[in-house]
Amino acid sequence: MKRKVIAMCIILSVLFLLTACSAGEKTALDPKNPVSITLWHYYVGDNKIALEKAVDQFNKTIGSEKGVVVSAVAKGSIAELEKAVTDSAKGVINAEPMPDLFSAYPDKALEIDQMGKLCDLNDYLSKEEKSRYVEEFLKDGQFDGDRQLILPIVKSTELLYINQTAWNEYAAANGVDTQKLTTWEGVYEAARGFYQWTDAKTPETAWDGKSFMGIDSLANYVIIGNKQLGVEIIDGANQKVVLNRTVMKKLFDNYYGGISLGYFNAVGKFRSDDIKAGDLAAYVGSTSGAAYFPTWIEKNNTQSPIDLLALSYPVFAGGNPDAIQQGAGMSISKSTPERQEGAALFLKWFTAEDQNIEFAMTTGYLPVQSGAYENAAFKESLESMRSGEQSEKNVAAVYDIALDQIMDRDTYASIPFSGSYDVRTTLEKSLIAMAATGRENAMVLKEQGMTEDEILKTLDLNARFEEWMTTIRNNLNERGIVYTENQ
């Protein structure tokens, strides 16, 4: 009897143990209890729609299978997105909760990571999976050795968009060719020529020439200009800013002068809008804007057709033909294991060739997996675009340049360091502000009947440059960013 009692006790305790233990888990995900993932992105328009479609597809297929539901929230622009993420990361009052997944540029990712809010994606990527990505793109998201903070989503480079219809008219009248547009100096000259040629069309009205050139991203202009001339202004290796006065002066003069005298301009939100309004005839901008380059422009409230001429990014005379390589990837913030895993699952799915090509090609981005470039579907759609409608032909032309730049030329992405993001802003904002003042002053001087040279002289580019540099220095000091200045 005693034995029976003992046996009974043992059986009971084993039963308890059995019910207490559950099978070991390999994944934190549970299809029956799906995890909800919030994704913040900066895409607008067709990119936004394309991303939402992709999210939908993911939720319906692999997401429902594994137990992940992604909801994508548009945050407008990169700047707004980054502000929202920073606020959330810092825990600012009224800020939204930190998203699980968000678009991020390297500089911002690094900043958020320093708050200890980002996941190392190595935990979710096998070697084999990593090897699928273009190594360089993947490297852009690596910090502190091999912490993978960003997974590249799509990449882009910048190139020169030209309203070929306007250019041809001008070129034919003035005997210039596109060779001139390979250097910044040439571009400046062409822009001046274009302004003067259009101004001359209405002799009765002075200073009514048309601007020729626009720059979408001034930060990129400064960074790549420096790089072309042999300077890494954002010196990630040494975690400092290098201000080479000679190079910076060249960049300053080119832009400040161009804007002040009306050869260059920036009116709408993007330079492509300026093309549409007929305010510009060319601009340097991201390949990702390819689809935004119009097939017609508004002229007297009606549509006037134009063609696109896409050229490589201009190089400063004597410089190395470097072009920017950029593109936001996505980062995963630290949360619960299942949310992190769910976010990673989506990221990997979204950047897999099929999805990645489809998304990239909506506007002119470049896919991030090396296989994509060899992908038959990718090549096929390029081919069909070349022979498609005008708008498709435009995108195809941009791809031709972009692929050439990415594959065969030197592309450059600055290596960020803590605070380097602010450097970009500082450079861009200060130059815009300087140029805007310059333009206003020039307008006044134009009224006074000065010639272009007189105006430039009066504006005193040297003094303005020093002013700009001072602004930069102050800003850097304010943010505690180390910099060196040299000739």
């Binding site: 009897m1 005693k2 029976k4 009692v5 009974m8 006790c9 009971l12 029956k32 209890n33 799906p34 909800s36 895409y43 607008v44 328009g45 067709d46 936004k48 729609i49 939402e52 479609k53 939908d56 939720n59 319906k60 997401g63 429902s64 539901v69 909801s71 994508a72 929230v73 548009a74 945050k75 407008g76 622009s77 707004e80 009116v267 709408g268 939100k269 993007f270 492509s272 809008d273 549409k276 309004a277 007929g278 689809a291 935004y292 119009p294 508004e298 007297n300 409230n301 009606t302 549509q303 506007t363 708008s391």
Partner: protein
């Protein structure tokens, strides 16, 4: 039968029942109180609340938005009317002039931006009645369409100009979209431009009504052809006369609608979702629907009708979705139109779907946990019951165990259990045990005093020792009261039962070595439930008496030889002891006892027998069993030989000597005996058969060569066995008169008529195949006289019975020549049947007529009676003419040996011709026997034979048959 259960089991069952009853009561209480139902109802109520709240939130958001839209639209209306006045045009033609249109567009975009900033919508638009850019195109409408990717904040820099002049883009530094255009085209399907047409139509229906009344909701559609489904709400732009010339509207794209208006975060249930769709008659019309997320999109089938089944609660329905199974659906109608709207009949219903098992999860989980805990507590209670009962009953079972292990010789001493009742019981048992001991002592004493030599023992299964009574101690010479182990007892028991007495059940011979006395014991055993009880009784005196009696039976009083019974027993024993050896049964019959008896009387006969027995004791030196079977028959059995020859030698030696008996007349008579030997195991394997077969061998000797020994001859036996075997049958046949007669016709060869019948004896017993066997057996058994008497008496009886049938024909009766009826019988026949004598012919055979004296007397009698005599089977055997002469028969029947084939055999013809002539000279008629062919018949007719019989003329039959006509004619023809 009533079951007896242990106290432990009874207690266990009782307490277990209580536990079970409690659990059952608990479960019933739960069921009766409907706790689970209440939990379910609560879950449904919660779901209803959630849906209700969502509906209210939605309604108020939409209400606010509509209000804001109405304000903005009205304001724009007045602004545009003012502008038109300033420009001196009608509002309807505002689009025509570039400048005017640009101002119009800018005014409109002010309103649109204001709307976008104030409301959570993804786009706002303004459409005019004509196109500024394409004035000739009727389908084109100038429009301003602004989208806001981030409705949560109204930052204009995030706005995207989908449609509209660049002036608007510049005004707000607003990017243009990829599909940026100047016009909106109506050249789509009619219905998809409803967002423009419907509100204008509404404004024509109710002039000067409030703006909200004209508002129209369009269902999801891809307005801008960019793969984005949007829901629109539009209001008309009206001139001073209330005439519509354009619309202002908002759009909410599907992803944002889901995120913002139908947030899944509302729903605490797994796999649940919202959907907005039209509902009619308990069915959701999924022609269009606004899903809350991927689940709704996955599981709801567009363009189908989803039937809902109404449940008890208001607004609660049930339905089935493919993979999700049964769904509970909470439904609320949304208020998107004011009551007086012409579109008020358009039904927008918010439905919230929750899988029913998820909804009932709580109650199910509570139910599950309750079941687990009830089962668990029941199990625990059971174990507690078992443990407690175990400890409680341990003392009691301890007492039981103690008692079980007690030896009857132990003194009983119970340990107190501390339980009053139990202790009372044990002390009572102690008392009882004491009195039992006394009783058993008394019983033993009484047995002893009864002077009966009787004792008992008990072997208990669960005890190492055996209990004996005093007698057994005495018998086995053991110290009284000493402990005897089972092993020891086994040895004693084997000794006691080592020599079982044959023929006496349960009696064993036992040699008491101490007293050197042979004892006989009767040992009886019986199984008791706990072991074996036995009684041993000394029956030595009884056995001695019995043995004396047995002796008398075993030995022949006259000769002192073994009796028949004893022989049989002893032979059986010997065979059993050595079954593989050879044995011989010698059956001896004295040849001349009858003569001595007849001539000198029985005293001398007895002397002969005693003398013979002395002679046969010769075999005793060879361990032979010598016995007198009966009268002058002796049987000797020799056994334990390996070969037959030594036995033959022994028997031969007996025969080599001559033995004599001197009779009172002083004559030395030689004592002769015939003997038969049957071999064990060659001839037979048991005493009965050995006796029978050796008897037969002796018979053979006696019949063939008296005074010799014959060994059993199986071949001969098989021929003659009937002689022996039918010994009984012949008695029966004689006693019960089991014969009847068949009649074979005897035909007169001159007339062809039947003149006589031969009465042929037919046995009514199967043992005998023919009359010859009857005769042989009767002869062997010396029953011929009786047989003769039977034949004759029965024959006359038959003749008497059938005298009419027979008429004047004669009847031939076969008589046994050596026998004759005694005087008494003869007289009886004379008295009864003398009137038939003249038709009777007595046949006698030659071979049997040896005993001349009898035959003569018989013939004399026949003659005197007037019956005729026929000699049968004439011509074979001892036949000679002298004999015939001496008999002076009336008829001679020529044996069939002589007749058959006579037509071809001249010798036979001559012989028969001679015989016929001789007989005819003497006046003797001749009968030819065995006529079976036509040829033989002709021959015998030629030879002038008087009568004939045989199968050709007629078979023996129980009827008195006539000859067939053809044969009769044949005979007549021959004459």
């Amino acid at each position: 039968m009533k079951k007896t259960w242990t106290l432990r089991r009874q207690l266990n069952i009782l307490l277990a029942l209580i536990v079970i009853f409690q659990s059952v009561a608990l479960v019933s209480a739960l069921l009766v109180s409907q706790v689970f139902f209440m939990l379910d109802a609560e879950a449904v109520r919660l779901l209803n609340n959630t849906t209700e709240t969502r509906m209210e939130t939605f309604n108020s958001a939409v209400g606010l938005m509509i209000g804001n839209m109405a304000d903005e639209t009205q304001q724009l209306n007045s602004e545009l009317i003012l502008l038109a006045r300033q420009k001196g045009v009608s509002p309807e033609s505002l689009y025509l002039d570039n400048g005017t249109y640009n101002e119009t567009a800018l005014l409109a975009s002010d309103s649109l931006v204001s709307i976008l900033k104030q409301n959570r919508v993804t786009g706002a638009f303004f459409i005019l009645n004509g196109s500024n850019a394409n004035q000739d195109d009727q389908a084109a409408h100038s429009a301003v369409y602004i989208r806001n990717a981030t409705p949560e904040d109204g930052e204009t820099s995030n706005f995207l100009l989908e449609i509209g002049p660049m002036a608007v883009s510049k005004q707000y530094t607003m990017a243009t979209s990829i599909r940026w255009n100047l016009d909106m085209r109506a050249d789509q399907e009619a219905s998809s431009f409803d967002f423009y047409e419907k509100p204008i139509w509404a404004s024509t229906q109710f002039k000067n009504s409030e703006m909200e009344r004209y508002g129209y909701w369009s269902t999801p559609q891809d307005i801008l052809k960019d793969n984005q489904q949007v829901v629109c709400y539009t209001m008309p732009i009206l001139d001073e006369n209330g005439k519509g010339y354009g619309v202002m509207g908002i759009e909410i794209d599907m992803p944002y609608f889901s995120q913002s208006y139908l947030p899944d975060s509302d729903l605490i249930y797994q796999n649940s979702f919202y959907v907005i769709a039209g509902m009619e008659n308990d069915a959701l019309d999924l022609n269009w629907f606004i899903p809350s997320g991927v689940l709704a999109k996955t599981y709801l089938k567009s363009d189908e009708e989803l039937r809902l089944k109404s449940l008890e609660d208001d607004g609660i329905y049930e339905t089935k979705l493919d993979e999700l199974g049964s769904m509970i659906c909470s439904v609320r109608e949304l208020k998107v139109y004011s009551g007086n709207s012409p579109f008020a009949d358009q039904n927008w219903t918010l439905a919230c779907f929750v899988p029913s098992d998820v909804l009932r999860e709580n109650s199910l989980s509570v139910q599950q946990k309750l079941v687990y805990s009830i089962v668990l507590t029941t199990l625990l209670a059971f174990s507690a019951v078992f443990v407690l009962v175990y400890f409680f009953t341990r003392k009691i079972s301890g007492v039981a165990k103690y008692v079980r292990n007690l030896s009857p010789y132990d003194e009983i001493h119970f340990k107190p259990t501390g339980m009053l009742e139990i202790d009372d019981l044990t002390s009572a048992v102690q008392l009882l045990s004491q009195s039992l001991v006394n009783v058993s002592k008394t019983t033993s004493k009484i047995l002893e005093l009864s002077l009966l030599p009787i004792g008992g023992y008990e072997v208990l299964d669960n005890s190492k020792h055996v209990i004996l009574t005093d007698f057994l101690y005495w018998l086995l010479h053991l110290d009284p009261g000493s402990l005897i182990t089972k092993e020891d007892w086994q040895t004693y028991y084997e000794k006691l039962t080592n020599y079982p007495m044959e023929d006496y059940e349960n009696i064993y011979g036992y040699y008491d070595q101490y007293t050197e006395k042979q004892l006989w014991l009767r040992i009886l055993e019986a199984k008791s439930p706990t072991g074996i009880v036995g009684v041993i009784l000394d029956v030595t005196d009884d056995m001695a008496e019995k043995q004396r009696l047995t002796n008398e039976l075993d030995y022949d009083a006259l000769t002192g030889l073994l009796s028949n019974t004893a022989l049989k027993r002893e032979v059986t024993r010997k065979i059993k002891e050595a079954p593989d050896k050879i044995g011989a049964m010698i059956f001896i019959d004295l040849d001349n006892l009858k003569y001595i008896n007849d001539n000198f009387g029985h005293d001398v006969g007895d002397r002969l027998i005693i003398r013979a027995s002395e002679i046969f004791r010769y075999f005793e030196q060879y361990q032979g069993l010598v016995s007198r079977i009966s009268g002058d028959e002796f049987a000797i059995y020799l056994h334990n030989y390996d070969h037959q020859d030594p036995i033959r030698k022994i028997v031969k030696t007996l025969y080599d000597n001559e033995y004599y008996l001197t009779t009172p007349d002083g004559f030395r008579n030689r004592i002769r005996f015939s003997a038969g030997v049957a071999w064990y195991s060659l001839d037979a394997d048991n005493v009965t058969d050995l006796l029978k077969l050796s008897d037969f061998a002796m018979y053979e000797a006696k019949s063939k060569e008296k005074g010799r020994m014959f060994e059993f001859n199986r071949k001969y036996y098989e021929q003659m066995s009937y002689l022996l075997e039918n010994r009984e049958a012949i008695n029966r046949l004689l006693d019960e008169q089991l014969i009847r007669f068949a009649f074979q016709p005897i035909v007169d060869l001159k007339t062809g008529e039947v003149v006589a019948y031969e009465a042929l004896m037919r046995p009514l017993l199967d043992n005998f195949k023919n009359p010859t066997e009857i005769l042989a057996v009767a002869a062997a058994q010396s029953k011929l006289a009786q047989l003769e008497r039977l034949i004759i008496l029965l024959a006359f009886q038959t003749i008497e019975e059938r005298s009419e049938e027979i008429g004047s024909k004669k009847i031939f009766i076969n008589s046994i020549p050596s026998q004759r009826l005694n005087d008494e019988d003869s007289q009886m026949i004379w008295d009864n049947y003398s009137h038939h004598f003249d038709r009777v012919v007595i046949e006698v055979t030659e071979e049997e007529s040896k005993d001349g004296k009898n035959l003569d007397k018989k013939v004399e009698y026949i003659r005197k009676s007037g019956m005729q005599i026929a000699v049968d089977d004439f011509g074979v055997g001892y036949s000679n003419e002298i004999r015939i002469l001496s008999l002076l028969p009336d008829i001679i029947k020529i044996d069939l040996e002589m007749i058959q084939g006579i037509n071809k055999n001249v010798d036979k013809q001559n012989l028969v011709a001679n015989l016929v002539s001789f007989c005819h000279q003497k006046g003797v008629k001749v009968v030819a026997e065995g006529i079976e062919t036509k040829e033989d018949l002709s021959t015998v007719i030629k030879l002038e034979i008087d009568y004939a019989q045989g199968f050709y003329l007629g078979y023996p039959s129980f009827e008195l048959a006539e000859i067939s006509n053809p044969v009769k004619e044949e005979i007549i023809k021959q004459r």
